[in-house]
């Protein structure tokens, strides 16, 4: 794949699994100095910067009671602090990337997140880390 047609456009989000959401939120707000984008019962999103194509670049903390489904027993949700990494793709590449990944024999889970106005593809790397291809889509409400 040469440089001109690389599909990954940027780091969209890094999410870590946390045990104590309140303590960790306080640290990331007050020590790291990030702006809270959204706080929910089991997660908090911080806006780090403007991102690719209308998306924001986020750091998220997820309560460990809210792990992504993992098919990788070697990576227990209790053991790893990496929840997932989201990489930006262009909306026009979204369907072709989904087909390409599926064509490589990977299990791909497609979903939308209304409040972020994004479409997402979830899949795993060979050592079980959860990856997300995320495309900003204004029509997702």
């Amino acid at each position: 794949m040469n440089k001109s047609n690389r599909r990954v456009k940027g780091l969209g989000e890094v999410s870590i699994s946390v045990k104590d959401l309140d303590t960790m939120q306080k640290f990331y707000e007050e020590v790291v100095g990030l702006e809270v984008l959204r706080r929910d019962e089991s997660f908090v999103f911080f806006k780090v910067a403007e991102g690719y194509g209308g998306h924001t670049q986020n750091l998220a903390l997820f309560d460990t009671t809210n792990p992504l489904e993992s098919k990788f027993p070697e990576l227990s949700p209790e053991g790893t602090t990496l929840h997932h990494i989201a990489l930006n793709v262009a909306l026009e590449d979204f369907e072709t990337e989904k087909m390409r990944l599926e064509g490589l024999g990977m299990k791909v889970n497609a979903t939308v997140h209304e409040w972020l106005h994004v479409r997402s593809l979830y899949f795993a790397d060979p050592e079980g880390n959860s990856l997300e291809f995320v495309a900003y889509d204004e029509t997702v409400r």
């Binding site: 794949m1 440089k3 047609n5 690389r6 599909r7 990954v8 456009k9 940027g10 780091l11 890094v14 870590i16 946390v18 045990k19 104590d20 303590t23 960790m24 640290f27 990331y28 707000e29 007050e30 020590v31 790291v32 100095g33 990030l34 702006e35 780090v48 910067a49 690719y52 670049q57 750091l59 990576l75 227990s76 209790e78 053991g79 790893t80 602090t81 990496l82 990494i85 990489l87 930006n88 990944l101 490589l104 990977m106 790397d125 060979p126 050592e127 079980g128 880390n129 990856l131």
Partner: protein, 147 residues
Amino acid sequence: MNKSNQSVTGIAEISLRVHDLDLMRKFYEQVLGLEVLREIKNSDGTVIVVFYTVGAGDDNLALFDEKLIDWFTRDKSPQIDPKLTTLSHIALSIALDDFESEKKRIEQLGIEIIESGTSSWMHCRMFYFFDPEGNLIEFKSHDESIQ
């Protein structure tokens, strides 16, 4: 802290601890199509870290061989079993102008700066600290004077 004085300007890098670097490289290069920025080699010539460019900006993703485990955990992160977590560290960008003041601010909050350093090939300076659950956080500034 309000929005106007947020010092962090972006996620500079996410680094993963990997078990099988060759296998993982193949995936990140061929499946995700990431471009290799730099390989770091051991004294015996084996590649132990691979940095990738992510997109057109300055975002990086890096794969750290688990042999480097001591580098990012030492004995300072007792909450996290390094064999179980795949997160090596997260680097956040800050302006060079804010570098010393942020370091001082964080130290004054009673948080230990566990390492400070520079990287000649990345032309940057950085310092590291742990969050309350033992994740390693890096604050990093681009500095052209570091060559």
